[in-house]
Amino acid sequence: MGCSVEGVVAALRSAAEVVTAHRDELVELDRVIGDADHGENLKRGFTALVSKLDLSEPPATPSAALKLAATTLISTVGGAAGPLYGTALLRAATSVGDAAELDAAGVAAALRAALDGVVARGKAEPGDKTMVDALTPAVAAAEAAAASGSTVAEVLSAAADAADEGAASTVPLVARKGRASYLGERSANHLDPGSRSTALLLRSFAESAGGGDR
C-alpha cells in the first residue's frame, strides 16, 4: 500500500504533535551542550506548518506537501535546524517528483535524498555527533527494508528503529560540528539533540503510516 498526499500531510501533522510533546526534552538536551533553543525552534516551525495546512488549500501532491513543509521550516525555525531540515524536505520533495502516491522504494529514495541534502548543507559526517548520525543508519535501514519487499509503514519503522540506535550512538561522541563542538571533550556523554529530533520525526512518520513502534 502506497502513501498518498493525505498520508504525507497526516505524517507532517503527526510530526508537529511529537515535536510539541518533546519540546522541553529537546530544549534540555540542547541546554547542556548547545544553546537551549532546539525544541523551541522546531515547535515554532511545525506550529507554523500546521497553521498553513489548516488555512490554505490542501497540497495537491506528496511533493507539494513536502515542499510546503520545507519552505515553512526554512522561514520559521532559524538556527541550524531550519536550513538543515528545510533542505532535507526540499530534496525529498524533488526526489518524489510528481508521483501521486509513494511506494516503499519511493519513500526510501526520498530519505536518501534528504540525507544527501543535509550532508551537502551542513557538511557533517557520521561520527560528528549530529543529526547525520541518526539519519545515515535510518536511510540504510529504509533501503534494505524496501529492497526486501516491505510496506511503506515497515520501511519507516525500520528507519525509525535505526535512527533511535543512531541517536543513542552519539552519547559517547565528541562533537565536531555545530555549537556543541566548542565544548571539545566536554560534549561527550550527552545525547545530541539534533539526532534525537531526527529519530523523533522518523518515529512520528512511521506511526502515522501505521507502522507502530517496535
Partner: protein, 333 residues
C-alpha cells in the same frame, strides 16, 4: 526567572516595537519578517552593510543601524539565528544598487541561514557578498570544531566597514576591508554567572560563587574551562594573554582595545578591567590608540566581560573615527 517581559514568546517583537519608538530618527522596524532598517534606506549608490543574528546581544545588531554603520539588522529569536527570508527582506529594503555585504558571525545556524539567503538574493539579481567573523581565540580552529565564533570583533568590523561604505567604497573594497579587519582582530570572554533565556526559564549553566567560566561565547553556552574565581588582575590576564599570543600582537603594534560587558557586569568593574588591560599592553610595548568600553555585545544579563584587540593602521584609525550615528554608537555628528 525574573524579567521585565510580558510573554517569553513575544520578547523580540515587543523589544523591536520599543526600539522603533525610542529611535524614530535613526531606524525603522519591519515585522513579518523582522528587520531593523536605517531610517533613510535605501541609500542610492551605497553598498548596503547588513548583519544579524540571534537576539539577546543588544545593542548588537539593531543598535548599530544608522549612518556610518549598518544599513539593516536581522534579529532572530533570542540566541537563534534569523531566517533567510529576514535576510532577503533586509537586502531588498536597503538595495541602493551597489550590492550588499553580509557580515555574519561564525555559528553554524547563522552561516547556514545567511548562505541560503545569499543564494536567494543572488537569484533575484542583487550582488551579495558574505564575510564571516571568527575572532574568538577560546575555540580551537581545526577540523574538529565548527570553527572560531564571532564575538566582540563583530562590533569593530561593523563600525569600520560601515564607515567605508558610507564614504563610497564599492562592494569589492568593502569586502576586502572586512576580511582585513577580521584577520587582525581577536577576542576572549569570561562569565561569572550564566544567563537565562526567556523561553527556557532557567540558567543555561550554573557557576558556584567561587568559580568562573573562561572562554565563553555569547549565547550562554559553557566555555572551555572552569577555574576558581580570581581578582581582576588575574581575570584580565586570562583573557589578554591568549589574545596576544594568538595573532600574535607584538611590541610596536598599534591597537584598538575594546572592553565589553556581557550585560550584567557594571561599568565600575569594567573600568577596573580596562585599566589593567591598558597597563599590560603598555608593558608589552603595544600602543592603545583607540578604545571602546561598555556593554556592546552582550549575553542577556550574564555577568562577565570580554576583551577584543584589533591591530590598527592609519586607514583603520580614520574609519574608526569617521562619523557614526546609531542608537548605541554616536560620534562626529
Amino acid at each position: 526567572m525574573k524579567k521585565i517581559i510580558n510573554d517569553p514568546a513575544t520578547v523580540v517583537v515587543d523589544a523591536l516595537h520599543g526600539m522603533a519608538a525610542a529611535h524614530p530618527d535613526l531606524l525603522r522596524v519591519q515585522t513579518d519578517p523582522a528587520v531593523v532598517v536605517r531610517a533613510d534606506a535605501a541609500v542610492h549608490g551605497k553598498v548596503a552593510v547588513i548583519s544579524g543574528g540571534g537576539s539577546g546581544h543588544e545593542p548588537l545588531h539593531g543598535g548599530f543601524v544608522g549612518m556610518g554603520m549598518l544599513d539593516a539588522a536581522c534579529p532572530g529569536p533570542v540566541f537563534t539565528s534569523p531566517t533567510p527570508d529576514q535576510v532577503q527582506a533586509a537586502v531588498t529594503a536597503t538595495d541602493g544598487g551597489a550590492g550588499a555585504l553580509l557580515l555574519v558571525k561564525n555559528y553554524t545556524g547563522d552561516v547556514l541561514n545567511f548562505e541560503t539567503a545569499a543564494e536567494l538574493a543572488a537569484a533575484e539579481g542583487t550582488e551579495v557578498r558574505t564575510v564571516l567573523i571568527d575572532d574568538d581565540v577560546a575555540v580551537k580552529d581545526s577540523l574538529y570544531t565548527a570553527g572560531r565564533r564571532g564575538v566582540g570583533g563583530t562590533v569593530l568590523v561593523e563600525k569600520i566597514v560601515g564607515a567605508a561604505a558610507q564614504r563610497g567604497d564599492d562592494l569589492d573594497a568593502c569586502e576586502a576591508l572586512a576580511r582585513r579587519v577580521v584577520a587582525g582582530v581577536r577576542s576572549m570572554g569570561v562569565a561569572l554567572t550564566a544567563c537565562t533565556v526567556p523561553h527556557v526559564g532557567e540558567p543555561s549553566f550554573t557557576l558556584a560563587d567561587d568559580e568562573m567560566e573562561i572562554g565563553i561565547g555569547i549565547h550562554g553556552e559553557p566555555g572551555r574551562q572552569r577555574v576558581p574565581m580570581e581578582p581582576a588582575d588575574g581575570i584580565v590576564r586570562h583573557l589578554l594573554d591568549p589574545i596576544l599570543e594568538d595573532l600574535p600582537f607584538v611590541e610596536g603594534d598599534r591597537v584598538l582595545l575594546f572592553t565589553n560587558s556581557m550585560g550584567g557586569t557594571p561599568l565600575v568593574e569594567l573600568y577596573i578591567a580596562h585599566g589593567i588591560a591598558e597597563r599590560l599592553l603598555a608593558e608589552r610595548g603595544i600602543t592603545v590608540e583607540r578604545r571602546l568600553v561598555g556593554p556592546y555585545i552582550t549575553s542577556l544579563e550574564m555577568q562577565g566581560m570580554s576583551l577584543t584587540v584589533l591591530r590598527l593602521d592609519d586607514e583603520l584609525v580614520e574609519l574608526w573615527d569617521a562619523p557614526v550615528h546609531t542608537a548605541a554608537l554616536r560620534w562626529g555628528v
